[in-house]
Structures are given as C-alpha cells and as structure tokens.
C-alpha cells in the first residue's frame, strides 16, 4: 500500500478535551474517573467514561474537530473526502425524542448519512459518507481513506470518528453482560470482568504529504469478515492471525519488523482469548512490546480505530507509554515498565468488532519520545 500520513489530529476523550492533554495524561498514567449509571431492571451500577470538560452539542463538537484538524488556512475542500465513522451517529437525539414523546415512530428515524451529508454541505467537502463496521469503523476509515488518496480519488481525506454517551449502547452491552461490574478495566487479566464504555470525538487529516508535524505514517492494513459468529471471532485466533499477516503483507513488513503491538483488548472473555491465541500464532512466545489503551480511554466502540491511534502516536511522540500495573498477572506479556520506542518504530494496531469485522493497521512513528 502507498503510505499515507496522518498530518494532523484532534481528540476529545475521557483523558482530556484535546489531544495534547490526553496524551500527557496517558504518559503520566492518570486514569479518568468514570461516572456510575444503573442498568435498567437489574439496577446494578456500571461505569461510563465521559469526555472531560464542558458539554457541547454534537454539531459544535464536530465543527471544533474540523477546525482543529484542518487548520485555519485549509482552503477549498473540493479535493477532500470526509469519512464519518461512528456507531452512535445521532442516536442520543433520537433517545431524547423517544423519551419526550413516550414513543418512537417510523418517521422519526433519521437517515444514516444525515450527519455526513450535513457536514459536507456546511464545510464544502468534495464527498462524504458514513462508514459503520461496528468497532472497526474508524480503523476501516483510516484504511480506505488512505487507499482513496493513493488511488488519486482525492488529494486529502478527513476522518471523523465519534461515540456519544448513548443509553442504547450502555443498556445494550449491559444486556449482553459485557460491561464490567467492578469498573476495573483490565484487558488480559485472568479476572477481567468486561468492558467500560467511553465517549470520544476524534478527527484526522490524511495526506500523501507529511505536512509540518505529522503524527504517524500509515504503511498498510487489512480488514476482513470472520463469519463464524456475529459477536465473537474464532477463539483459536486464526482469523486474527490471518488479518495481522495480511496487514503486514500490505505494508511490505514482517512480524519481526514490529516494535509494538497495540492490542484491541476489550477485556471481554471471548475477545481476549481469541486475540491472545492470534498473537501466539503469529509470534509464538517471543513477542514485541505490547500495549492496551482501553483502561485509560474506555472502549470507544466504532471510534477506537482513530481515538486509540491518535492517542498512541501522540503519546509515543511526546512521552512514554505507561506500564500496566497488573502486567505480571496478564495472559500476554504486557509490560509493567514504561515503553519508549525509536522515532521511526513500526507498530501493529488491532481493532476487532461485532459483525465479524477484524482489522489491523501498520503504523510508523514520526519522531520519538523527547
């Protein structure tokens, strides 16, 4: 694949209201304090990680992301495609409407391309579409945005990825018994008890040119559908292994070139077993450095492909990654020591989701920790 640069990025998440603040918080190993909500009927508490800072409307947040990502002198956007990656889209508005009306009518349903189309009209993008492949949405947005640039379809691509604090998501994952009762988000821990959802709004500008201060270079990636189950991937990790291998092939790299693997690590029973097995298939017992980000960010669902990528690459540029306090007990060799990589290190980043979607990206650092 022709490499593409993440020229600029913006992130609002539980760790901070901007990317620099969030990456500093990660570097300092400061975790966000979640809020508690109750599962309907069961009346059991679960934890949710809201974005830090004051509340804003979705439109205001998305416009702010675009201003930050495009910069003041972005010029006409008639050479730029916008990809909106989100599983929640405008669902919070629909939830409010249903609650106020006491019902939800067929005509209340909004079109799935509404937000992308509104942003296209408001900002003048050449084209815009909504991409929804569950928790791989933003990873696919990066991959296909990069391929569109390499193909010459557009000169620039902007990926917006976000997940709002949706009651449907909170109660739905609760109904599937996938949310952590303890609120301790511990991927690959033997006593892990599920995931903690997180709110996020993220954007990145992709280009074939590096720009003044690129965050990362996307060297390749791969995405495919494991049709064995709608909600889990093959437990033996064979599909994950294959996807990682295909991603490396597309980047013309080998597993031995990888300095760090950013694991998907949802802390659900099935995902962590499958990912562990996939890693063992690819690497055996000799693995590169490993990291997880969800204990700090929460699971940001369809946006995690971008929220985690931006946070990881910025943190590696400016700081070090924190060690994991339970690393000694984890089922994969995660590090309890801080992680610092060479300035041009190559990483593999995994993102898996419902619908059998598995994706891996190969990324290169642009400047190391200082």
């Amino acid at each position: 694949m022709t490499p593409v640069y993440l020229q600029r990025g913006a992130l609002q998440c539980a760790l901070g209201a901007d990317l620099a603040t969030a990456s500093r918080a990660l570097g300092d190993d400061r975790k966000a304090k979640g809020r508690s909500f109750l599962l309907h009927e069961l009346q059991q508490p679960r934890t949710y990680l809201d974005v830090a800072g004051p509340a804003h409307t979705l439109d205001a947040r998305l416009d702010q992301l675009l201003r930050e990502t495009l910069g003041a002198e972005h010029g006409s956007l008639d050479d730029c495609v916008l990809i909106v990656a989100s599983t929640s889209l405008d669902i919070v508005d629909l939830e409010t409407q249903a609650a106020e009306q006491g019902q939800f009518l067929p005509d209340d349903s909004t079109s799935l391309d509404r937000i992308a189309e509104q942003l296209r009209e408001r900002w003048g993008f050449a084209d815009a579409f909504t991409l929804n492949t569950a928790c791989t949405s933003a990873a696919n947005g990066l991959l296909y945005g990069a391929r569109m640039l390499a193909d010459g379809q557009f000169a620039r691509a902007v990926l917006i990825a976000y997940e709002t604090p949706s009651a449907l998501a909170m109660q739905g994952f609760g109904a599937l018994d996938l949310l952590s009762p303890s609120g301790h988000y511990r991927p690959f821990h033997p006593e892990r008890d599920g995931l903690v959802l997180g709110e996020t709004y993220a954007a990145a500008l992709l280009s074939l040119e590096p720009g003044a201060a690129p965050l990362a270079r996307l060297l390749g990636g791969f995405s495919a559908c494991d049709t064995s189950s709608l909600t889990t991937t093959r437990e033996d990790g064979s599909h994950i292994d294959w996807v990682m291998q295909q991603a490396l092939k597309s980047a013309e790299r080998t597993a031995g070139d990888i300095a760090l693997v950013k694991l998907h690590g949802t802390a659900t029973q099935a995902n962590d077993v499958a990912e562990r097995n996939g890693m063992l298939s690819l690497y055996g017992e000799h693995m590169p450095a490993l990291c997880v980000l969800k204990p700090w960010l929460g699971h940001t669902l369809g946006a995690c492909g971008l929220s985690e990528t931006l946070l990881l690459m910025k943190a590696l540029q400016q700081h070090q990654l924190p060690g994991l306090d339970y690393a000694a007990e984890a089922s994969l060799p995660l590090s309890c020591e801080r992680i610092q990589l060479p300035g041009d290190a190559v990483l593999l980043a995994n993102f898996f989701g419902f619908g059998g979607n598995n994706a891996s990206l190969v990324l290169q650092c642009m400047g190391g920790a200082q």
Binding site: L112, N132, G355
Partner: protein
C-alpha cells in the same frame, strides 16, 4: 470492472417479515433465525445472486435507514419503558449485522463494509470496491443498496475485474444484464 449479475427486490410496507422469510427460502435452505427486516432485505438482494458469487468476494452494503422496527423496539424499551433491550435486537441493530449474515450465508471471505446510503451511494460503493480489487484483496465485489421509505427496494450488482465503470446508478450498471427480479406486493 464488469457487471456479471444484478438483482432487484421490491416490496411494500405491508410485506411482512414472514413474507420476506418465505421469499428467501427459494434461495437459502437454512436462513438465520431472529433477524430483522434490514437483514432479511439484504439477504434477499444477495441470495438472488448466490450462484455467481465466489468466496474471494467483498461485500459493500448500504442502507438509507436502520431497520425501523428494531430501532422502535430498542428506543421504546430503553428510553420509554426503562427496560433492558432484548439482546438479539441490540445485536441486530449493529449496522453491519446485515453484512455479517450475507457474508456467512454466501461464504464471502473478503472485506465487509456498511455505509449510509445517500445521493451518491452507488459511486461510493463502487469506489470502495474498486480499491479492494486494485489492492488484490478480492476478485469480486457484491454491492447492495437497501432503501425503505414506505415501499422498499433492494438492488444488488456483482462486479469483477479492474478499472472504472463510469456509471453512478443501478440502472446504468444493470443495463444490458438480465436482472434477477422479485416483486413482493
């Protein structure tokens, strides 16, 4: 790229999920259980082309709306009645659930993308499919668009080969091809 097969399924608002299931049985011997209307519709558009599809095929699916009955059930359960949603309804509401079932039923091993269908949906789907064909990831691409606004229409085309088609509508794509049609009124 070359269009090698196309399908068009039409029905009305009164066409029930039971009707959709019955129609599907002519192509699929063992359709999935507990699926919603959007999944039925996507399966119908895809199953009509089943005989032409190889495993190294990508799926590029678009819909204007989520399955409205599923959204109504979920929103009213969670936001009005303050109940937990039914797990199968929540899982079905994941937009790419329809793509998963199509891939599983047809044995597709390629990429599986879902986009919101807007005014440029066919050019967007073709653009995404062409990228995967060019990258050598797949040799075939199945494009499906589901549109339900009162009546519903599912349109599908199966493409193979490289290059641009220069067409932006189902009508142009399917011109000269015998379209597998089904009317469920």
């Amino acid at each position: 790229m070359k269009v090698i097969a196309a399908s068009e399924i039409r029905g009305s608002a009164s066409t029930s999920d039971k009707d959709l299931k019955a129609a599907l049985s002519q192509w699929l011997s063992n359709p999935p259980r507990r699926i919603d209307r959007l999944i039925f519709q996507a399966l119908l558009g895809a199953a009509a082309l089943k005989d032409h599809v190889r495993s190294d095929c990508g799926l590029y699916l678009a819909s204007c709306h989520p399955a409205r009955p599923t959204m109504i059930a979920l929103l009213e359960a969670v936001c009005v009645q303050h109940k937990q949603p039914k797990p199968f309804e929540f899982v079905n509401s994941v937009s790419n659930a329809a793509g998963f079932h199509v891939a599983q039923q047809l044995g597709l091993e390629g990429p599986n993308l879902f986009i919101g269908a807007g005014p440029r949906v066919w050019s967007q789907l073709m653009g995404l499919a062409r990228l995967d064909v060019q990258a050598g990831v797949i040799s075939q691409a199945l494009l499906l668009v589901v549109d339900e606004q009162g009546d519903f229409c599912v349109q599908g085309v199966l493409l193979e080969g490289d290059g641009e088609l220069g067409t932006n509508s189902f009508g142009e794509l399917a011109a000269g091809i015998q379209v597998q049609q089904l009317a469920l009124n």
